[in-house]
């Protein structure tokens, strides 16, 4: 095995107050422990070949969580820290380790409410991402050409988290606003 993509993920949206220990543990288990186990198995064969690509799918929630995402966001933040750590350990053997943090992508994984026209207004791209647009980055990170990219998290969110209002109400500029100090 020369390329590992950790894409399995689970979410369970509950406010912390009502989040059961079992649900918390299940999400951490699937998202974080799952990645740990597969990475652990992949390192040896990749090291031996002096080539490997480990790609972990994180989420913009790792750094920009919404309410009710405690378990999901914490697990993805863990995945990003795991990515950086393992990169320190194995990049010298030709094994790169990176994470992709998708934003709102048009899959069954995101709630229908986020697919509304209202929701689209806060997205700089004014549309959801397509799964293929995330896959395209994964396939580049898996390529020979990406050999010097390691230990990093690349966001694919159509500009969503680049602005101040990520997740909030869209901000509309008034015409001809300026301020001079």
């Amino acid at each position: 095995m020369l390329v590992l993509v950790n894409n399995a993920g689970a979410r369970h949206d509950r406010l912390v107050q009502g989040l059961s220990k079992q649900d918390w543990a299940r999400i951490i288990d699937v998202n974080l422990h799952g990645a740990f186990h597969t990475i652990q198995r992949a390192i040896r064969p990749m090291s031996q070949k002096r080539f490997g690509r480990i790609i972990n799918v994180s989420s913009i929630s790792a750094t920009r969580p919404q309410p009710a995402q405690a378990a999901y966001a914490a697990s993805k933040a863990g995945v990003e820290a795991l990515t950086r750590t393992v990169a320190q350990e194995v990049t010298r053997r030709g094994v790169t380790v990176n994470a992709i943090a998708p934003g709102l992508v048009d899959t069954d994984f995101i709630p229908e409410s986020l697919k509304s026209a209202d929701a689209m207004r806060v997205l700089p791209a004014r549309r959801l991402g397509e799964p293929e647009e995330v896959a395209a980055l994964a396939s580049f990170l898996a390529s020979e050409e990406a050999g010097y990219i390691s230990g990093t998290v690349i966001t694919v969110d159509g500009g969503f988290t680049a602005g101040l209002g990520a997740g909030g109400r869209s901000w509309r500029p008034k015409a001809e606003t300026s301020s001079d100090a």
Binding site: R44, S47, Q48, R50, E89, R92, R93
Partner: protein
């Protein structure tokens, strides 16, 4: 893996070779006089080797003992010295 009872020197030497191969060193270069540098074995590899020997044979390797070593033979001797 549970540490085996008392590992022989041969068992340990063989495991050192197989571990370094797993790390990506070229098997036919693994001669005692080969330098760690030419084998592309660095301090992190030796740390991992120590971790493997600890898990499998219960040997406690002190990474500091590897600090001034230059050849594979010296590294192996340092590890085997723990067996006394």
């Amino acid at each position: 893996m549970e540490p085996t009872a008392t590992p022989s020197r041969d068992q340990i030497s063989a495991r050192i070779v197989s571990a370094l191969t797993e790390f990506g060193a070229e098997p036919d270069k693994l001669r005692p006089e080969a330098t760690l540098e030419e084998l592309d074995v660095d301090s992190l590899d030796l740390f991992e080797l120590g971790q493997i020997l600890n898990e499998e044979f219960g040997i406690e390797v002190d990474p500091q003992d590897f600090e001034d070593l230059t050849t594979l033979g010296q590294a192996e001797a340092a590890i085997l010295s723990y067996l006394k």
